[in-house]
Symmetry: C2
Subunit: 87 residues, 2 copies
């Protein structure tokens, strides 16, 4: 298996952040200067972003890049847990 895990983690985080601000994909696309269909691809985990793209999104969401990164990182460790001690 190919592990597009990072794309999935990023997509989940992006969707959460967007919904927290009650933005539509369309609005976020506009604010970030990215394509609407691409935002969709990101959220469903079909694409994984470049650094430039992450910066554009963090600006549109008005959060620091480091915060975005920390959320993605957290998702990644979660998803890689053993499920041996997981409650």
């Amino acid at each position: 298996m190919k592990s597009h895990k990072t794309a999935a983690a990023f997509g989940a985080v992006l969707r959460e952040l967007r919904k927290q601000q009650s933005l539509s994909q369309e609005k976020l696309a506009f604010e970030s200067g990215l394509d609407r269909t691409y935002i969709s691809l990101l959220e469903v985990g079909q694409r994984s972003p470049s650094l430039e793209t992450m910066l554009a999104l963090s600006r549109a969401l008005q959060i620091p890049l480091a915060y975005l990164a920390s959320l993605v990182e957290a998702r990644l460790v979660e998803s890689s847990d053993d499920r041996r001690n997981a409650s």
Copy 2:
């Protein structure tokens, strides 16, 4: 102008972190699973990384992705100062 600024910022940060650990590009390439020549391209600001690449590098450098991101962000604000009020 095309602003490969983020590539330059990232490259500078990467080089700094690598030197702090006294690693060669070769060693870092090996640890991260990336190509040696690509590490070089990153450091000179000729390429800008994907999320996956940033993750590989942060692991090789044994630092959180969020920390790497914060350093890049800091470089970016520095380089975007007006030089009007800059001392």
